[in-house]
């Protein structure tokens, strides 16, 4: 066990940021925590990085308690906070040197470890950090977090606000770091990135909804899910689907709609109904759910989307008069 989180609670005044969180990370694993803003990811990561003490419960990193043995924890952890912790008025090289000295090491001593990451930005090593692009800042921050050869790397939303290309490159880098035997804990709001992890935890409102292998996602208690496609205008199509009896949920999903039914027995009636719409382009296929589907399923099962003000489900008042043509 590399990181053990046992029934951790954390509140800020009346706001409960973490509720009974339980997680266990194996050594050398690439573990993803997926969830939107406000799910409690950053709070959880700060507890692991010994920056916050849990109200109750226990958190250990390689056997060291993050409250009692915080000194040891800080030595063996590499932490990259949500905002890239770089000194904007220092150059790339100076940032890296600074963090190396803070940890009592040198860039040369650990160059091999960071080379894969650092070589992307090394040509710009004299440039001030503030003049780097988002993707380059992210790589520099990662180099800084790695510079003391940590055993556990904790990355809080490293890809937020970064474009899809840089994000892809970043995950390739994480893969190469994992080859060095470093345990990686990474959070992201992008569900598609979950596929790159060995295991993921889905988090929402301070709770871990599920922990699973990305390929196993959806093998649990989920109702069958269908993808619907049509060449017609998608939004009216969506609203019409939602009005059908038996429709539990229908959401935009790329160029399709993903639909779940209240019960499997509604399927045939549903199919018959849409067959009557005389839309030749309409296709209806059962699919295996993606992580995002799974997440949305768990959110609605937990009743969290339904109770959220502003949820725009069937009961919303916008344009009920529209007719599908």
């Amino acid at each position: 066990m590399s990181v053990v989180i046992h029934r951790v609670d954390k509140s800020f005044k009346e706001f409960r940021a973490l509720k009974q969180v339980d997680l266990r990370l194996d050594s050398g694993e690439l573990f993803g925590v997926i969830g939107p803003d406000g799910a409690g990811k950053s709070t959880l990561f700060r507890i692991i990085a010994s920056l916050l003490a849990p109200d109750s419960g226990r958190c250990e990193v390689n056997g060291f308690n993050v409250v009692r043995d915080y000194r040891e924890v800080r030595r063996l952890i590499g932490y990259m906070p949500g905002r890239f912790s770089l000194y904007m008025d220092l150059s790339v090289e100076e940032n890296l040197n600074f963090y190396a000295r803070v940890f009592g090491t040198s860039v040369r001593a650990n160059y091999e470890l960071i080379r894969e990451v650092y070589r992307h930005i090394e040509p710009f090593k004299k440039r001030l950090a503030k003049r780097l692009s988002g993707g380059m800042k992210q790589k520099l921050a990662l180099s800084c977090a790695l510079i003391h050869r940590p055993q556990v790397l904790v990355l809080d939303e490293p890809t937020t606000g970064v474009d899809a290309v840089s994000r892809g490159e970043f995950w390739e880098l994480l893969e190469s770091i994992r080859q060095e035997g470093i345990t990686i804990l990474v959070s992201t709001p992008y569900m598609d990135e979950a596929e790159r992890c060995d295991r993921v935890a889905l988090m929402q409102k301070g709770r871990v909804l599920d922990v699973a292998d990305p390929s196993e996602i959806g093998k649990g208690d989920m109702l069958p899910i269908y993808a619907l496609r049509s060449n017609r205008e998608v939004y009216p199509f969506l609203k019409r689907i939602r009005k059908l009896e038996g429709c539990r949920s229908a959401w935009l999903f790329g160029d399709e709609l993903h639909v779940t039914l209240k019960a499997p027995q509604h399927a045939s009636a549903f199919r018959k109904e849409i067959a009557g719409w005389e839309d030749d382009s309409l296709k209806w296929v059962p699919i295996s759910p993606s992580i995002e589907d799974r997440f949305m399923w768990l959110m609605t099962e937990a009743g969290e989307a339904g109770t959220a003000p502003g949820s725009m489900n069937e009961n919303n008042s916008l344009s009920e008069d529209y007719k599908y043509t």
């Binding site: 800020f12 700060r46 990085a49 010994s50 920056l51 916050l52 003490a53 915080y70 000194r71 800080r74 030595r75 952890i77 932490y79 906070p81 949500g82 905002r83 890239f84 912790s85 770089l86 000194y87 904007m88 008025d89 220092l90 100076e94 040197n97 600074f98 963090y99 000295r101 803070v102 940890f103 009592g104 800084c144």
Partner: protein, 368 residues
């Protein structure tokens, strides 16, 4: 140690790369000294005086005409009651009153002793002081010239009194005051801002998550400012001497050590502020309103402490600057040694220890 030097050298990089910081650090003291020196002009002209000649003899009349012929003063009128002085001062019709005692000439001749009282409106302390100096000069010159006629020895006792500002305030006064102000500004404002900047940009989070101890982080942040503030103190003393001829009568080493103590105190205040403020802006407001304003208003720098209401006097005694100004005035202007300032020094030392402890207690090993 290596970690510590890493922090210090990084802090110097921040300072020397930021033009604004550099301007505040090195431009501000110079500008303030020169500005004060300019405002506190050494020239006086056409000061309005009123005369209450209770004697009305030959000598007192000659003295008055001597004063008026000096070119610095113009006569606003004669009085016959002391009570009128204040209303004239209030309305601004006169700045100085010259009062001759009864039988001025007779006293001088018979008893070899006579008195003149000079009363000034000292709400503008510096020009009042200047006017008095000039008046005294003119009168002394006049009586000296009488020397040959009057049989010696004799004495004209010139008593001065300053309205609204009873305490005698020299032109030199502004150098110690300015020193207290600038060192407070640089040390506390700059440290609180530099520490909160790390909080704001999230770099503090990483420093905390590293094996650095809180003490190391704080020392690494403030050490550069200790050095720079000492340079500043020296600059102010040097400028005061070169531009305004303000001497250092006492030991320069004692003076610098006292500066170091005061700087340390201001820095610990800065650290304390930074532990409460989450953004640079808040830290700035805290330092400005919480430290600078009271330092200016309550330290005796501008307004004399004795004239304050009791409650403000009490407040002024918790102003570090108040004690520091006393120390600097003693060492610089009076040339006294530790024997006369140990009490103030002890007070500053006590405050320093208190604020350091408070700052360390507040500066957490974690984020909250």
């Amino acid at each position: 140690m290596k970690r510590f030097f890493g922090l210090v050298s990084k802090e110097f990089q921040h300072i020397f790369r930021d033009v604004r910081t550099l301007v505040i650090l090195f431009g501000l003291p110079v500008v303030m000294i020169v500005l004060f020196g300019y405002v506190v002009t050494n020239e006086i002209r056409d000061v309005k005086i009123v005369v209450w000649d209770r004697s009305g003899d030959q000598l007192s009349r000659e003295a008055v005409s001597k004063i008026l012929s000096s070119g610095y003063f113009i006569l606003a009128g004669y009085l016959d009651r002391e009570e009128e002085i204040e209303s004239l001062f209030r309305s601004g019709e006169a700045k100085v009153a010259v009062i001759f005692e009864h039988d001025f000439e007779k006293n001088l001749v018979r008893e070899k002793k006579a008195a003149i009282r000079l009363v000034t409106d000292a709400s503008d302390a510096n020009s009042a002081q200047l006017a008095l100096n000039y008046l005294q000069g003119v009168l002394t010159g006049f009586f000296m010239s009488l020397d040959q006629d009057v049989s010696l020895p004799w004495a004209v006792d010139i008593k001065t009194r300053m309205f609204y500002n009873e305490e005698m305030r020299g032109v030199y006064m502004f150098v110690p005051g300015l020193m207290a102000l600038i060192l407070m500004l640089i040390s506390s404002l700059m440290t609180s801002v530099t520490i909160t900047r790390e909080k704001e940009f999230g770099t503090m989070e990483l420093l905390l998550a590293s094996p650095l101890k809180p003490v190391e982080i704080i020392l690494g942040k403030v050490t550069p400012y200790v050095l720079l503030s000492l340079v500043n103190a020296a600059t102010i003393i040097l400028l005061g001497y070169l531009v305004f001829r303000v001497p250092v009568m006492g030991s320069i080493w004692i003076l610098m050590l006292e500066c170091l103590l005061y700087i340390t105190l201001a820095l610990s205040l800065g650290v304390l502020i930074s532990t409460h403020a989450s953004t640079q802006q808040i830290a700035m407001v805290f330092s400005m309103v919480g430290l600078l304003l009271p330092t200016i208003l309550l330290s005796g720098f501008i307004f004399p402490i004795d004239n304050m209401p009791k409650i403000l006097q009490w407040f002024s005694s918790i102003m570090p600057a108040r004690w520091f100004i006393v120390i600097v005035k003693n060492v610089m202007l009076k040339g006294t040694g530790m024997a006369f300032i140990w009490k103030e020094t002890l007070i500053l030392l006590g405050m320093t220890v208190f604020f350091i402890l408070a700052a360390l207690k507040r500066f957490n090993i974690r984020l909250e």
